[in-house]
C-alpha cells in the first residue's frame, strides 16, 4: 500500500509544479520542453523497432528492466523535445516503482494538468499509448516476480 502512495504523491507534486503556471499554455509547454532537454538520451542501440511505441506522432522508444528490489526501471527517448518532456514526467511517476503499484495506479495527474489541451489530441493519444506500454511491461514483470 505504501508503494502505491508514492505514485500518488509524485502525481500530486507534478500537479503542484504545473499549478505555478496558472494554466498559461506557453509557460507549461516551455517547461515540458525544458524537462525534455534535460532528459538523458537512450543509447542508440535501443533505438530499435521492438522498443518503438506505435500510436505516437513522434518516435518514442521505451525500454524496461527490473532492479534488484523488484522495481521496474524505465528508460525512454524520443526524437522530439516536447515528447521527451512528457516522457520525463512519466519516468518520474513510474520508474523505480513496483509492478503491482504501477498496475493499480491511475495517471490522473494528466487530466488534472489538462494535458489534452496543452499538447493537443494527437500527442495525448501518444501519451495513452506510452502508458499502455508501461503497464504492459509492469504486467509481464509482475508475472515474473510471481
Amino acid at each position: 500500500m505504501e508503494v502505491l502512495d508514492q505514485i500518488e504523491s509524485i502525481q500530486k507534486e507534478i500537479v503542484e509544479d504545473f499549478s505555478l503556471f496558472e494554466g498559461n499554455k506557453e509557460q507549461s509547454i516551455e517547461y515540458i520542453m525544458d524537462l525534455g532537454m534535460e532528459l538523458d538520451t537512450l543509447p542508440e542501440e535501443f533505438h530499435r523497432d521492438e522498443f518503438l511505441i506505435k500510436g505516437c506522432q513522434s518516435k518514442v522508444w521505451l525500454v524496461a528492466s527490473l532492479d534488484e528490489n523488484g522495481a521496474v526501471v524505465f528508460q525512454s527517448d524520443s526524437n522530439t523535445a516536447l515528447t521527451k518532456g512528457l516522457i520525463s514526467l512519466l519516468m518520474r511517476v513510474y520508474s523505480g516503482q513496483q509492478p503491482q503499484a504501477i498496475l493499480r495506479s491511475e495517471p490522473w495527474f494528466l487530466k488534472e494538468i489538462g494535458m489534452d489541451q496543452l499538447v493537443g489530441t494527437q500527442r495525448s493519444n501518444g501519451l495513452t499509448a506510452m502508458i499502455k506500454r508501461i503497464s504492459d511491461y509492469a504486467g509481464s514483470f509482475d508475472k515474473e516476480n510471481g
Binding site: N24, K25, A81, L82
Partner: protein
C-alpha cells in the same frame, strides 16, 4: 520613403479585408490569432457565413426540379455560383462540374475518363510534389486497369523538372497530372510548358489548382489543359464545394461518375439516358447551401483582385526570406523565385512538431508534418516541415510576429 508609404497603404487595405473575417478577432492561448494555415483551409468572411444562414432561413429548397418559388430561387443562386466559377477560370459554363472538393474532382476524372481511356500499357505521369489526392486516385486506377503511375522529378528549388518530364514522355503516356502550386512548398509549376510538351505526345493534362486558385489568375484557355480541379474551402468559401473543369469534347464523351437522380434524362429498364454535362456528373442532391455560399467568396477575391494579392505576396516573400536568412539553422524548402507566400522550413535542433506547438502557444496557427505529400518528403530526405501559408488577410505584421517567434524559439532550443 514612397515605397514604405505604398506598403502601408496596402497593409491598410488588408486590415479592411481582415475586418470581414469574424474568426480573426478571436484570441488563442491569450494571444490574438495569427492564422497561417491557409493552405489547409482558409477562414470565411461574414458574407459567406451570412449567405449560409440566409439560404436556410429564407429559400431552402431542392434544386433543378421544383416549380415553386423557393426551388426557383435556390436553383438560380446555385447556378449563379457555377457561372461565377466558370468566369473565374475562363471556361464555358457547361464545362464546370460541381463536386465536393479537389479530391472528388480528381477521383471523378480517374473513374470516368480514366477507366474509359487508360489501359494496361499506358502510363500516367504525376509530379513528384503532388498532394496524395493527385497520386492515390491514379494508383487506384492502376489497380483496376493495370497502367503504370510514374513520378516526374522535382528540381532542387521545388519546381517540376521539365527535362525529366521530356525524358519520360512517350506515346504510352496518356496523362500528365501536376499541381499549379505545391501545397508543401508554395512553388509555382510551369504548367503551360508541361501542356506544350504533353501535347507533342498526345497526352492529356490535369492540373491540380487547389493551391493556385486563391493566389493567382487561372485561365484554362490560356493553359490549354484538359482538366482542372480546385476546392472552395481554400478560397475563403465553405467546405464541401469543389470544382472540376473538363473540356467539352471530353465531358461529352465519357461515362457518368455516379448514378442517381439529378443526372438522368429518362430512366427505364430498357435503358437509361443521361443529361448533358455538367449535370450528368452531378448525381443526387448536391451541397446546395455551400455552393450558394461560395458566391461571396469569389466576389471577395475578385474585389481585392489578383494584382493586389500578388503585390502583397511579393512583399511577404521578400520580407520573410530576409528574416529566414538571418535565423541560424533555418532551412527553407521550395526556394524558387516563382512562388506564393507559403514558407516550408525546418530549424536545426527543434523538431517541427515542437516548433508548431510552441508557435501555437503564441497564437500562431501553422501546419507541421508531411502535408499529405509523403513521396516529396521522402525525396527531400525529411520527415516533414513547418509550413506557414499566408492568405488574403495576412499582413507583413503577421509575418513579423511569426519570424520574431521562430527566432526566439531557435535561440532558446535550436542547435545551430
Amino acid at each position: 520613403m514612397t515605397e514604405t508609404k505604398t506598403i502601408t497603404q496596402r497593409e491598410q487595405q488588408l486590415v479592411e479585408v481582415k475586418k470581414d473575417f469574424p474568426i480573426l478577432k478571436r484570441e488563442v492561448n491569450g494571444h490574438p490569432l495569427i492564422y497561417l494555415d491557409n493552405a489547409a483551409t482558409t477562414q470565411k468572411p461574414q458574407g459567406v457565413i451570412n449567405a449560409l444562414t440566409e439560404y436556410y432561413s429564407s429559400y431552402n429548397s431542392n434544386i433543378h426540379r421544383g416549380v415553386h418559388t423557393l426551388a426557383n430561387e435556390a436553383t438560380e443562386a446555385f447556378e449563379k455560383t457555377r457561372n461565377t466559377a466558370a468566369g473565374f477560370i475562363n471556361s464555358k459554363v457547361d464545362e464546370l462540374v460541381l463536386t465536393k472538393g479537389t479530391t472528388e474532382s480528381i477521383n471523378l476524372v480517374a473513374r470516368t475518363w480514366g477507366e474509359k481511356s487508360i489501359s494496361k500499357d499506358d502510363v500516367i505521369l504525376v509530379g513528384g510534389a503532388e498532394h496524395h489526392s493527385n497520386i492515390v486516385p491514379w494508383q487506384l486506377l492502376s489497380d483496376r486497369v493495370g497502367c503504370k503511375v510514374r513520378p516526374v522529378k522535382i528540381k532542387e528549388e521545388g519546381v517540376l523538372d521539365l527535362e525529366d518530364l521530356r525524358f519520360q514522355l512517350s506515346e504510352n503516356v496518356k496523362l500528365v497530372a501536376v499541381n499549379l502550386i505545391s501545397n508543401s512548398l508554395g512553388t509555382i509549376n510551369p504548367v503551360k510548358e508541361v501542356g506544350r510538351l504533353a501535347k507533342e505526345f498526345g497526352a492529356k493534362v490535369l492540373i491540380d489548382g487547389a493551391q493556385a486558385a486563391p493566389h493567382m489568375k487561372i485561365d484554362v484557355q490560356d493553359l490549354d489543359c484538359h482538366f482542372l480541379a480546385f476546392s472552395g474551402h481554400k478560397m475563403y468559401g465553405p467546405t464541401g464545394v469543389g470544382f472540376l473543369f473538363g473540356k467539352s469534347e471530353i465531358l461529352n464523351s465519357i461515362p457518368p461518375f455516379q448514378g442517381g437522380g439529378e443526372m438522368i434524362k429518362e430512366v427505364s429498364f430498357e435503358g437509361t439516358s443521361y443529361l448533358d454535362p455538367p449535370l450528368k456528373f452531378e448525381a443526387g442532391t448536391p451541397n446546395i447551401a455551400d455552393v450558394i455560399a461560395m458566391q461571396p467568396a469569389f466576389e471577395l477575391i475578385q474585389k481585392v483582385g489578383f494584382e493586389k494579392i500578388s503585390e502583397m505576396e511579393k512583399e511577404l516573400i521578400r520580407y520573410s526570406r530576409e528574416r529566414m536568412a538571418s535565423i541560424p539553422g533555418l532551412k527553407e524548402f521550395g526556394t524558387s523565385q516563382s512562388k506564393t507566400a507559403l514558407f516550408s522550413f525546418i530549424v536545426d535542433g527543434v523538431h517541427s512538431f515542437d516548433l508548431g506547438q510552441l508557435l501555437d502557444a503564441k497564437g500562431i496557427a501553422v501546419r507541421t508534418g508531411h502535408h499529405c505529400t509523403m513521396p516529396l518528403m521522402d525525396s527531400l530526405g525529411i520527415e516533414g516541415t513547418v509550413r506557414a501559408s499566408f492568405g488574403i488577410y495576412n499582413t507583413v505584421k503577421d509575418a513579423e510576429y511569426l519570424w520574431d517567434q521562430v527566432e526566439r524559439i531557435q535561440s532558446k532550443y535550436g542547435s545551430a
